[in-house]
C-alpha cells in the first residue's frame, strides 16, 4: 500500500527497506519525516491531536502520488501519516520516494510534502499552557506549494 493513515507509530528504516526491496533498478531513496515539536507560535506544546477525513484523506494522498509520478520518473512513493493523540518528539508523517537517480527522488519527495501540507484533509489541535487550540494554516505552506506551479504543469 503506497498510502497509509494510522494511529500506530512507524519504523522508517523497515518501511524504506520494504519499499526499495521491490526493484533492483532503484539507485536513490529520498525520505522526509515530520516530527511533533514542543513549541509552536511561541507557546509550549504538551500534546497534539490529529483529526482527518476518512475516505477523502486516502484519495487526496493517492492523487498527490499520481501527480508526482506524472512529473518525475520515480519507482515507488510511500506516504504514512499518523492520526490521533501525539506528543513532542513523536513521528507524524513519513514520505519516501525511490528512483534511479537522486534528483527525481529529492524533487518528488519535496513536492509530495508541499502538496500534502495544503491539500490533504488533516487538522492539528494542540494543548498549550493556555488550553487547547486549533493550529492555524501557514501562508508559507501555500507559497511552498505555489512554486511547483510556476516550475511545471500543475
Amino acid at each position: 500500500m503506497p498510502v497509509r493513515v494510522q494511529q500506530e507509530d512507524f519504523d522508517a528504516g523497515a518501511e524504506i527497506s520494504r519499499l526499495r526491496a521491490r526493484d533492483p533498478k532503484v539507485g536513490a531513496v529520498a525520505a522526509f519525516i515530520g516530527v511533533a515539536r514542543d513549541v509552536n507560535d511561541g507557546d509550549a506544546v504538551a500534546t497534539l491531536s490529529l483529526e482527518h477525513y476518512p475516505g477523502m484523506t486516502e484519495k487526496a494522498l493517492e492523487d498527490i502520488c499520481a501527480q508526482a509520478r506524472a512529473r518525475w520518473q520515480v519507482t515507488e512513493i510511500l506516504i504514512v501519516h499518523r492520526v490521533g493523540e501525539l506528543r513532542p518528539t513523536d513521528q507524524i508523517v513519513l514520505v519516501a520516494v525511490t528512483s534511479s537517480h537522486r534528483g527525481e527522488a529529492f524533487a518528488a519527495c519535496e513536492f509530495v510534502m508541499d502538496y500534502l501540507k495544503t491539500e490533504a484533509p488533516f487538522w492539528k489541535k494542540e494543548t498549550t499552557p493556555g488550553g487547547t487550540r486549533w493550529v492555524e494554516a501557514r501562508e508559507s505552506d501555500d507559497q511552498a506549494r505555489a512554486r511547483w506551479k510556476e516550475a511545471g504543469s500543475r
Binding site: 515530520g34 490529529l50 483529526e51 482527518h52 477525513y53 475516505g55 477523502m56 484519495k59 487526496a60 501519516h81 507524524i92 508523517v93 510534502m113 500534502l116 501540507k117 495544503t118 491539500e119 490533504a120 484533509p121 488533516f122 487538522w123 492539528k124 489541535k125 486549533w134 493550529v135 492555524e136 494554516a137
Partner: protein, 85 residues
C-alpha cells in the same frame, strides 16, 4: 435534493455536530449556494461560518471550489484550511 453535509475540526466543534442530512430547495445547486443556505438557517451555522476563516469545501471527497456543482446524494464537507504533515 438530499445532501449529506460533514463538518471537521473547528467547524465541527462550533456546530457541535459532525454530520447532517439536509433537503435543500431547487435553487441550491453549488457549494456557495449550500453555504449561504446553511448560514441563512441561523444559529449555530451563521456564527460558525463567520468565525472560521477561509472555510474550504469538498464534494464527494474531492477539494471543491465555490462554483462546484452539487447533485442529489452528494457528500459535501466544510472545514478550515488543512494543517497536516
Amino acid at each position: 435534493m438530499k445532501l449529506t453535509v460533514l463538518y471537521f475540526a473547528r467547524l465541527r466543534e462550533a456546530l457541535q455536530r459532525e454530520r447532517e442530512v439536509v433537503e435543500v430547495p431547487a435553487g441550491v445547486t453549488t457549494v456557495t449556494h449550500l453555504r449561504s443556505w446553511l448560514v441563512a438557517r441561523g444559529e449555530p451555522w451563521a456564527s460558525a461560518f463567520a468565525e472560521v476563516k477561509r472555510v474550504r469545501a469538498a464534494v464527494d471527497q474531492a477539494m471543491a471550489q465555490d462554483a462546484t456543482p452539487l447533485h442529489d446524494g452528494a457528500e459535501v464537507a466544510f472545514f478550515p484550511p488543512v494543517t497536516g504533515g
